[in-house]
């Protein structure tokens, strides 16, 4: 009954499993890589179906070498993260073309497991986890296929066996996950490789920068406040600060680390924790005004927090802020000069307006209010899709289109301020946020991106002025969905009318928040936190290893009993065991059974000498004879037999 195992069906399963694993990678790989891999796999299936010979080993090796060259050119390097995955995908396909025996198959399957792992480099969301768990199940079944040499069992049964095994393995996996000593990576420097573009704030601002983010409801970060969540109007999240203006685009000044920085707190501190999604930049967000440094970060003179290294992974950090504050009491000459910088010969009409307003206003405050009143009272529109602006964007915005998003207003405002002699700068970041009632935390999405201005006033220092608050106050109070009409292209789920869908999404986000914190964020620190909740102190890796071993052993014992329970004796064997126990017990008390004695005679003999237990012995005799020689025994009768024998063993004879 031997059967070659490299048959068509098994290969088809293998190809299917490989396809499932490669699928999520396709969007990240160059098309030729995916095509080559798919072609190799399909060709192998074709060869198996038509029973043709496999291609020459040297041909395959040639293709492999050519592919390496191709990868080097597509990715720039050969051994980076993404290029490595591309190589793996290609080699897996080619290896399938080379598969001749069982050993080759196991190599492919193990490489597939590894490729499965690489998916997590890009996404560790719950849905990815579910999809990959399903794929793992399929790969596992494929492995089982290759170890079955007869037709039985059917494929559905095989899937079931595979699934049951995975379920049995879950408890062990949990123990390992909790107790395995965690080491904070990376163990070696990560090779620099290309990063996929992530939408988010950029390091410059021009008309359209912020409004383009209005379409994205991707999460920028989440915030967990220790106490009450402040009012939406107070939630200004400080991000990149821009100082240089070329007439169209604002860019930051040099990032000078502030060795000493002072501020005056005018309200009590608010403590919170931010979980920042990776954006491949260095800036860290904080509620205006950040009052402390996050670990491994610096703060610039503009109170902008910058991490020392680029943020590639989700980063949680604690922060403290003061909503009311005073900064920049003294302005150095250099600061004054850079914050008054305006490009020559740009936006002349706006210039004229600024100079005129300066003459008309007695104080700086009056000037500011004048501009804001202009935005508020004249026909200015707040929209995500303003008309495009030409070479003099401030002029065109102020006088022609009069329609823009927050960056237009902030930019125009700051320009006017500068021309009028008031130092001003742009602050970008986020404003507001959505409270998730299911977890009591704040979600800030890209669509909440915002730009506002800061002006320097004598005796007051740097003061925030948000022109958007003048033209669309509901934006500040209630968020962007409140500020814009339905016709605006907001993300679907941000719209008011899909409230039930939003509720669903919020609860899902709460789940994913917990997921992020406890599963994905399970680093050495969190491990210690988690275990100390159970009273484990002084955690070091030796103790962890010990706890791991102990828990594994404690788990394996009941698992083994459960899995091996089907080896249990048949009912007849059970009955025999109980009978043997009875005989052994009697023998211990001096009444062994003679080999020629039948059970009835034996018990009768004992009954004669121990009349006090006669009735119990009679019950045992009858039950046993019934079980052994009667019709089919049922479990209840066996149980009763067992009980009677036990009862007898406790009686004194």
């Amino acid at each position: 009954m031997t059967r070659t195992n490299l048959n068509f069906n098994n290969l088809l399963w293998l190809a299917g499993a490989m396809a499932l694993i490669i699928l999520p990678h396709i969007s990240r790989l160059p098309i030729w890589v995916s095509l080559l891999s798919t072609a190799s796999i399909s060709y192998r299936i074709y060869l198996s179906r038509t029973q043709r010979a496999l291609p020459n080993k040297w041909l395959i090796m040639l293709i492999a070498v050519l592919s390496m060259i191709g990868v080097q050119r597509s990715f720039g390097i050969l051994l980076g993260r993404d290029s490595g995955i591309a190589i793996l995908v290609i080699l897996l396909g080619l290896k399938l073309l080379e598969t001749k025996n069982q050993r080759d198959v196991s190599i492919i399957i193990f490489l597939s497991y590894f490729l499965l792992l690489t998916n997590f480099l890009y996404s560790q969301t719950i849905s990815t986890a579910v999809y990959l768990l399903f794929t793992f199940w399929v790969v596992n079944t494929t492995l089982i296929n290759f170890n079955l040499f007869t037709a039985a069992p059917g494929y559905r049964q095989r899937l079931k066996i595979s699934g049951v095994m995975i379920l049995q393995a879950l408890p062990l996996m949990l123990v390992l996950f909790v107790f395995f000593p965690r080491v904070q990576g990376p163990l070696w420097g990560l090779p620099s490789d290309t990063r996929s573009a992530i939408s988010g704030l950029s390091d410059s601002m021009s008309p359209g920068s912020i409004s383009s983010l209005g379409l994205s409801d991707a999460i920028a970060f989440r915030v967990n406040f220790e106490r009450v969540i402040p009012a939406s109007a107070d939630l200004y999240w400080r991000g990149p600060v821009f100082v240089h203006f070329d007439g169209k685009t604002w860019t930051p000044g040099p990032y000078i680390e502030a060795k000493q920085i002072s501020y005056k707190a005018l309200s009590s501190p608010i403590d919170y924790q931010i979980i920042l999604e990776p954006h491949h930049q260095r800036w860290l967000f904080a509620l205006d005004l950040p009052g402390m440094l996050a670990p491994n970060s610096i703060i610039t003179q503009e109170f902008q927090l910058l991490a020392r290294r680029v943020i590639h992974d989700r980063l949680p950090y604690s922060m403290r802020s003061h909503i009311k504050y005073q900064i920049g009491e003294v302005l150095t000459d250099r600061e004054r000069k850079s914050n008054l910088q305006v490009p020559r010969n740009s936006n002349p009409r706006a210039r004229d307006l600024a100079e005129r307003l300066k003459k008309e206003s007695e104080t700086e405050r009056k000037l500011i209010n004048h501009v804001l009143r202009m935005f508020r009272e004249q026909k200015f529109f707040y929209t995500l899709t303003p008309p495009l602006l030409g070479p003099q964007p401030v002029d065109e915005f102020l006088f022609d289109t009069r329609s823009g998003f927050c960056e237009h207003y902030a930019s125009a405002f700051a320009f006017i301020m500068r021309v009028a002699g008031i130092p001003a700068r742009i602050v970008t970041g986020y404003q507001g946020g959505e409270t998730n009632p299911y977890g009591n935390y704040l979600i800030i999405r890209q669509t909440d991106a915002h730009a506002w201005a800061e002006v320097w006033l004598k005796d007051e220092g740097w003061v925030r002025v948000d022109p958007t608050a003048a033209v669309a106050p509901s934006r500040i109070e209630f968020g962007i969905t409140a500020a814009l009409p339905i016709t605006e292209p907001l993300p679907l789920l941000a719209r008011k009318e899909y409230n039930w869908l939003r509720q669903v999404r919020l609860s899902l986000d709460a789940v994913s928040y917990t997921w992020n914190q406890w599963i994905l964020g399970y680093n050495p620190q969190r491990q210690i936190e988690f275990l100390s909740q159970f009273g484990f102190r002084h955690i070091n890796w030796q103790r962890l290893a010990f706890m791991l071993m102990t828990s594994l052993i404690i788990l394996i014992i009941p698992l083994s009993l459960f899995i091996l329970k089907d080896l249990h004796l048949t009912k007849r064997d059970q009955v025999e065991q109980i009978w043997l126990r009875f005989c052994k017990n009697m023998a211990k008390r001096g009444w062994p059974r003679h080999t020629w004695e039948g059970p009835a005679d034996y018990i009768t003999r004992i009954q004669i000498t121990h009349p006090e237990c006669a009735s119990l012995l009679q019950a045992i005799k009858e039950t046993y004879i019934n079980l052994r020689y009667g019709k089919s025994a049922d479990q209840e009768m066996i149980k009763m037999f067992d009980n009677k024998v036990r009862e007898l063993s406790t009686r004194r004879l």
């Binding site: 031997t2 997590f120 080896l567 048949t570």
Partner: protein
Amino acid sequence: MRTQVDLKTRVGDWIFKLKLPETAPIKLHRRRVFILPTKTGTTLVITLLFMLIGSINYNLSLGYVLTFLLASLAIISILHTFRNIANLEIDIGRTESVFVGDEAQIAIVITNPSTLARYSIGLRYQKNDPVYTDAPIKQSVVVKFPVMVNKRGWLRLERINIFTQYPMGLFNAWSNAGLNLRCLAYPKPDHTQALPELGSHHAKEGTQKGIGTNDFSGLREHQPSDSPKHIAWKALAREHGMLTKQFTGQADHELWLDWYRLASSDIETKLSILCGWILKAENNGQQYGLRLPNLVLEPNQGEAHKQNCLKALALYNLDDSN
């Protein structure tokens, strides 16, 4: 006749406490089933190591989950592989006799007394390819695995290896069974020689009359070796004592396959020729008798007679019987 046992097998027997020969049926209880990782299993460990390093380096929590899940699965598979083979009962099956040069199909009966279905149980004899079978719940299956036969006589299989790597191929659970399996090998038939003429006379009996089977030629004292067919019953009824009928003529119609009539001097060639003759005669539907130096089989025909003759040839001059 015990085959030459090499040192490795001896040590193996000692470690695994195999006492030969064992009485059938054998139950593969827990104490005699052993389990060790396979080569694939050790390769998996290496893969797991790489996966773990990758997870640590990139801080992939789900990477840890996957690695640990796979490792746990491997551990669980120890239990599954073990229970796939434990408590099976192995018994000797009916093996058909073959001719030298053919493959014997050694039959083994595997019984699964438990409520768990068993899959892909492998049977291996020495270095031959393994044969796989399933063992469904509470059923017995007959498994036949081929062994090449090169010598006539009793082929004895002293140790067969029963193993399984189901379900994941990471561990190999096995037990060695020392059942007394055997197969009778008849000598290879030589079909080149034509059947001898009918009526080749006996060398041993006297030459008084040709002893045939058809024409009655008289009576003689009964000898115990006389066939009951030739007893003169009517004479016995008339109280003349036990007498044997004798026949003449038609002695020419008896086909005797006679050892002493063969020209060749080599024993095996003689046996082969006789074997070829037996098969031919049986095929023709003739009655035939066999004369060997150690025994004589009276002319007869049919399956049983053929097997008796072949067996006599197979075991000729070999010192073991059963």
